[in-house]
Symmetry: C2
Subunit: 550 residues, 2 copies
């Protein structure tokens, strides 16, 4: 009989408990959580506040009773595991209700204590109107304040996915909302230009978006909070959601002498073992290998937590399962937009000094002639000689998660842009196109990789070299209605062939259009006619996205 | 200057023409089509009839004029290419309007003539109320008859995707509709049980679905057609759509002595070359290698046609691009359901005498606690020792195309079920689950492959061996409300642990529940307790799907 003790009863812990029981009927499994709930849907909390998820009960997937009944797991809630006694192989547990403590022996111990909110050191931050949003009680408290005080204005600090979900939830509840974000963009896991459509959407939903802004002080007053901002302004708000990020919950591990990684997470190997024998860890608390860089990363997401818990369970029972790496696939709904990403971002590649190239495409989510088509703006990052895909980010109204899932799979499989050209994906008018978004991204990248065309970036067009001319091949009404590229000469694509004589073969043409497709045709035409030309990848749409961040 | 002649101006042909021009400004490109349109959206035709696509113009992507303007391609519509003169490297072209014919020389010739309808030899089939649905004029004729005669009843012959789209379109137009299908199922590319939810949906939309039924005679009467059916019944209908399949258009190729493959398509190599020098072929007319079997296959779909045309263009201009194989990824909307598949079907594997195993899962498209969740019923076929994925099929209301696209990618990359366990896909409540449908399919298959659990199929449960007992672990109300498994003993999962003493260790238990999840927990419990047990994969949902086909 193996005595398995689990600290933390939600994503990693509960998954491990369930799997452990499936693998062994004889194991003695005890799962501790200091909270009053286990196995709840943290990810659903914002959606209950917003009203999408009507029933609070829907958020609780298993109870201590149901866990006992189905899995014969001894779930002890309201129990804080205070200490790991490595030598005696026990944990010291304090029952929060009574204050009593006792020791529980283990043969194998799994730590899945999650993460905790990082709170910036701002005077007055902790007060009766400030809340983090991590647990059911957090959610209950926020909803109780809304019910009781009927606030008309709320502020969210932090524009990560939890902050964004909170913003939307509060808007759905009819509040006026300010979002204060320290960085220049929301959703820091994607590159700035890819976040810029989100900024648009957020503002167009009447959210007071304050980027590159810090809250420097909070003063609790009778009926509100007064926030002082780094730009000198003050803001009166009645509810403050603190979504300023999380860090691994490591005190327990640290105290036990378990090795902590360079990023501050519990260090584990592929078997989810910590540095101390018979102690495993999983979920938000651990630091794992990032797939593209091979470097340690903190990726606090539910999918990895669940799968790591499952793997740890098997290994605690003598198995040999491996968790290879995390690639950080993530998605978030932001009003009517979806943003998603997988693998490395450009900033990550830059930080790591990695060679890469990038292309943008903006094709329709499904056949353009079928009603309801909307653009998927996709950025593909790839290794510049072999074409191995390094990362992908997409934003749009529909079909975004599908493309990122397909590309997540491609990245795991170490595929190249050439492979994307060949992919055979679902096509019927309501679902896709004969050349799917993913194929087109492959075409564009592969054209570049094979040297069949050359590309340049918005940055190049913004400051062309003296021998470079920016050539916009859109039709004049588009320039007028949509906007111009600064300093560009305009020759519509369909006139270009006849007007080649207007061009100067000592110049290099940086060609642009709306999304890059017509500019591709033009670039090839110019190259074939003996001119030097490069396609500004992603066209005016990318130009706008980049400019919005400058 | 290379003279490129293209026969057929739609998916394969038009894509080749556009790409050829991008690759060479100097090539002389002539594209013939005997119809009056090129570059039109065949796939959109049913949706214009049904009204989803309002504008007819939306279906025409390029015209001869726009092709000339943008790509300097000489498009000649209304021109039938009647003969290929291999020795002189010319084609004989007849202008249909004048009857005049002439010869056009080529250096490289691309055949992309598509497919033509297969019409069963039924007396009276061709009449003023019968139509195929392949071209814009076909569509116009159907719509004209609807406008003019205001028919109240229509019949569609053939339950492939075009037939199904036609059924839905006609329903949207307010007609009563009968669908007559010779086979026992619609959508022959998927296995029968996976099509059975479609049968339900079709019937629940008041379509008179006649499976395993042939039309044996058609008699045109004054105001209707009288169809005689193989079951002896007759049917009065005012409009008959013939969607009984297609076969490659090969006359031209045949006459020129080009090799025709065993399935009746033009034989091509990976470079899209036919057996005759300088003649290439692409699209519905060709027979290509199927990815899983390596055997020739006819897969008349737009994605392959477009990509083959692109590859042929490059190779005609001296390139060396390869088309490796077709995997037959396909999707179809059938009322509120989506059905999609990729890779091999079970019947294909059986035909090829290939070893395989299969599992079913029915998870929600996104977090169950988020509103609007609906099940994705997924069948995964895999090689039974290494676990290489051979095929996948899915049906459901939402999220079906996404999972099949991800699995299409996995199949191309030759991944295994073990790889699916690790995939890191988008998860936020509106989009997926922490364990996505694809992960769960991987878990279930990998559990089997590693010998951590054993599975059985509905067929086994329908006729258990004498030493086998069928054990249903659902709760009694489910049996009452949803239906029972014939001959099953019922012990709810949450009582099983205490009631193990009721079981007989000389028996083998075939365990079932609603979808297979609880039965998995039960199966593992039984195995851990020393019993012999197998999980009936897919549970009662699969049981119903299979039974519906018997
Ligand atoms: C509002 C919100 C929305 C989210 N949305 C998404 C999303 O859309 N997609 C996504 O992938 N991820 C999302 N996440 C993240 C996801 O929930 C986490 O990645 C996942 O829950 C991590 O699992 P875990 O087991 O590591 O920790 P947790 O699920 O946080 O569980 C840790 C548990 O351990 C307990 N604990 C900690 N220390 C001790 C101790 N010493 N003694 C006893 N108990 C202890 C805690 O009380 C807690 O219940 C969201 C998170 C939040 C808060
Ligand atoms: C109603 C309908 C719905 C469809 N829906 C889908 C879908 O949802 N998804 C999908 O993937 N596929 C779908 N398809 C199939 C898809 O349209 C075809 O696979 C694709 O068009 C094949 O391209 P192709 O170039 O081989 O032939 P086609 O597109 O059929 O073009 C062949 C052209 O060649 C011309 N031609 C033939 N012989 C000669 C000759 N001797 N001289 C001159 N011209 C000639 C014909 O007039 C025709 O215009 C659908 C097809 C139809 C009809
Ligand atoms: C509820 C909870 C305890 C369930 O754990 P679980 O039993 O491992 O997970 P599931 O209910 O998804 O079931 C998955 C198991 O059923 C199996 N399964 C699922 N469908 C199946 C089917 N149709 N046939 C056979 N087996 C099936 C899987 O293979 C897996 O078993 P395995 O791990 O032995 O391979 C745990 O996921 C949890 O607490 N979740 C809530 C917390 C959380 O994740 N929060 C963050 C996200 S909001
Ligand atoms: C309309 C038609 C002629 C277009 O052919 P096309 O120009 O090859 O195709 P697209 O318009 O999709 O453009 C694709 C090209 O633009 C490029 N492209 C697309 N977006 C781009 C971007 N943002 N940046 C750079 N290049 C881009 C692609 O790389 C590709 O060029 P390549 O082949 O040189 O690599 C042809 O697809 C057609 O006739 N279609 C209708 C018929 C049909 O397909 N029917 C069946 C389905 S309904």
């Amino acid at each position: 009989m193996t005595r398995i003790v689990i600290v933390g009863g939600v994503a990693g812990g509960a998954s491990a408990a369930a799997r452990a029981r499936r693998m062994s009927e004889s194991a003695n499994i005890v799962m501790f959580d200091r909270g009053d709930y286990v196995s709840f849907a943290n990810c659903g909390l914002p959606y209950h506040i917003g009203g999408d998820i009507e029933s609070r009960d829907a958020l609780v997937l298993q109870t201590p009773q149901s866990f006992k009944q189905r899995f014969n797991v001894d779930v002890r809630i309201g129990c804080n595991v205070e200490r790991i006694n490595v030598a005696s192989k026990t944990v010291t547990v304090r029952q929060l209700a009574t204050g009593a403590s006792y020791e529980e022996p283990y043969d194998k111990l799994l730590l899945s204590p999650g993460a905790k909110s990082v709170l910036p050191p701002i005077p007055g931050l902790i007060n009766s109107r400030s809340f983090t949003l991590r647990t059911l009680p957090d959610m209950d408290n926020i909803m109780a304040l809304i019910e009781r005080d009927k606030p008309t204005h709320a502020t969210v600090m932090g524009g990560g996915f939890i902050g964004l979900e909170a913003v939307e939830a509060l808007k759905q509840r009819g509040l006026r909302v300010a979002l204060v974000e320290l960085g220049k963009q929301v959703m820091a896991n994607v590159d700035a230009e890819m976040a810029s459509p989100l900024h648009q959407a957020i503002k167009s939903h009447d959210v007071d978006l304050k980027l590159a802004t810090a809250v420097t002080a909070v003063q609790e007053r009778e009926a509100d909070l007064q926030l002082t901002l780094s730009d000198g302004q003050t803001l009166s708000t009645q509810l403050l959601i603190l979504a300023t990020g999380v860090k691994p919950e490591i005190e327990l591990a640290q105290q036990a002498g378990i090795e902590i990684g360079e990023l501050g997470g519990i260090k584990v190997n592929q078997r989810m073992e910590t540095s101390v024998a018979d102690i495993y860890a999983a979920g938000d608390a651990v630091e794992h290998v990032e797939l593209i860089s091979g470097a340690p990363a903190l990726i606090p997401l539910a999918g990895p937590a669940n799968r790591q818990g499952r793997i740890a369970a098997d290994n605690m029972l003598g198995g040999d399962k491996r968790y290879h790496a995390t690639q950080g696939t993530a998605v978030c709904r932001v009003f009517d937009l979806t943003i998603a990403s997988t693998g490395a971002s450009e900033k990550m590649l830059q930080r790591n000094g990695r060679d890469y190239e990038k292309i943008y495409v903006h094709p329709m989510n499904h056949a353009g002639y079928f009603p309801g088509a909307s653009a998927v703006s996709l950025k593909l990052l790839f290794e510049p000689t072999e074409g191995t895909i390094l990362g992908a980010q997409a934003v749009g109204k529909d079909g975004v998660d599908k493309r990122i899932d397909v590309l997540a799979m491609a990245i795991r499989a170490k595929l190249t842009a050439f492979d994307l050209e060949e992919q055979e994906l679902c096509y019927a008018p309501p679902y896709g196109s004969a050349k799917d978004v993913v194929n087109l991204a492959g075409f564009v990248a592969a054209n570049y990789l094979r040297g069949e065309t050359d590309i340049c970036q918005v940055e190049d067009v913004l400051s062309p070299a003296p021998n470079q001319v920016v050539l916009d091949v859109r039709n004049p009404p588009e320039l007028k209605n949509v906007g111009e590229v600064a300093g560009a000469v305009n020759i519509p694509l369909d006139q270009l062939r006849e007007r080649l004589n207007e061009l100067d073969d000592t110049k290099e043409y940086l060609v642009t259009c709306m999304v890059g497709l017509r500019a591709h045709v033009a670039t090839r035409m110019l190259i074939n006619a003996g001119f030097k030309a490069k396609n500004m990848t992603g066209g005016f749409k990318t130009y706008q996205m980049v400019n919005a961040c400058l």
